[in-house]
Symmetry: C2
Subunit: 232 residues, 2 copies
Amino acid sequence: MRKKKPAGADAKLSRAAAQRLSQYLRCLAVVGPTASSADLARSVGVSDAQVRRDLGALGHLGQRGVGYDVTALAAALRKTLGIDRPWRAVLAGVGNLARALLRYRGFRQHGFEIVGLFDADPAKIGTTVDGLTVEPIGRLAARATDLRVELGVITVPADAAQEVADQFSAAGIVGILNFAPVLLRTPAGVVAVTVDLTVQFEQLAFLVTRREPTAPELRPSARGGLEGRRSR
Amino acid sequence: MRKKKPAGADAKLSRAAAQRLSQYLRCLAVVGPTASSADLARSVGVSDAQVRRDLGALGHLGQRGVGYDVTALAAALRKTLGIDRPWRAVLAGVGNLARALLRYRGFRQHGFEIVGLFDADPAKIGTTVDGLTVEPIGRLAARATDLRVELGVITVPADAAQEVADQFSAAGIVGILNFAPVLLRTPAGVVAVTVDLTVQFEQLAFLVTRREPTAPELRPSARGGLEGRRSR
DNA sequence: CGTTGTGAACTCATTCACAGCT
DNA sequence: AGCTGTGAATGAGTTCACAACG
């Protein structure tokens, strides 16, 4: 009743599926001129059927009997992920994490350019980090238009995150990457992705506590051997 | 055939479910002496049925007509997540991200203690960060036993990550938090959680590119109104 | 009453298995 | 011969809906 089947090039993609596409893209750099679904599966830690299902949704990119052309596939992945063009972003909260993100080589390289820094701390305003001068957060709305930014990164403490998100939204930013451990409420049309490092740490404690005594292929990130899996 | 149904206190929990438990725990700090599933649902951005299903799996913690006792629930969540005791961890790769993690107040507070730093760069060895002296990575195996660490954090470049993971595993570490954008291969009994920041950034670009023109309650992190959802 | 706990229904995602190309 | 693309089968995860209970 919703919709029957868009069936075109790109139907709809779950979030998890989109994350896998990013991973396929990352692995493509390594392999040869063509890659088979089994190759990618091994690199990313999923089944080959999963790879074919994911890539099949992007259109007919593979050649039967051969595999996927790496160049064409990379272009298709980038297009689907929306990274076939540069993205301009600002960052609020110039702490250690912000510095780490700024120096993380690969962001600009991947098409993400941080063009403005904002902070509430008067001591930080006016200082320069990585060639950018920190501005007062109140200036955000005025500057966002000039800078033509679409994305905002939040690296402020949890109790200030919602306020910054509101300011981002008001400034016309349509995507927020949030490192504060809170659920952001955003108006329709503004999407937020939250990366909660504490959750990841707790996830690790959880997995270690209840890891199977010996489970070769249970965890995708921890597969030991890839011998024949089922008996048919 | 695997197992029928442990049915006891804690059956089995998917990874996503465990992440939600972390989020419930975080939200508990804020609310009053008791919290209803609807309260938690609102704070975390999931349905109330989801909350009840998740918490029901931990045992009978709720009181009908009242809700969940915050103190008891927090204790149960911590126990299930395996953070009802401290965890000792070492960190390999003392760059900006490492510094950010070290200064991230809340790690020690949440029971994660970083007790050793390792790096391959001779210029960094011997320097002190946050009260810890950076040691050569070759010392890892020898020191890990002394330090009685169980977890390791990888913040080295991608091409060195697998090597560090191998050294971690050899040193008896059973859980790895990996910030390098690669799939780690680990022996059975060693689990790895990978946090790939580039994937998150690309995820954001993806969501922004294909966000619905106006979708009030589509994204859990972006729900606008919570009026009656279905017509019954 | 209000809220939990939980079968049953349902939706979404993954795997199987093989026809169809190259 | 090899590998993709994809219906069909299976499985996992989520929501519905309501009886049970304080």
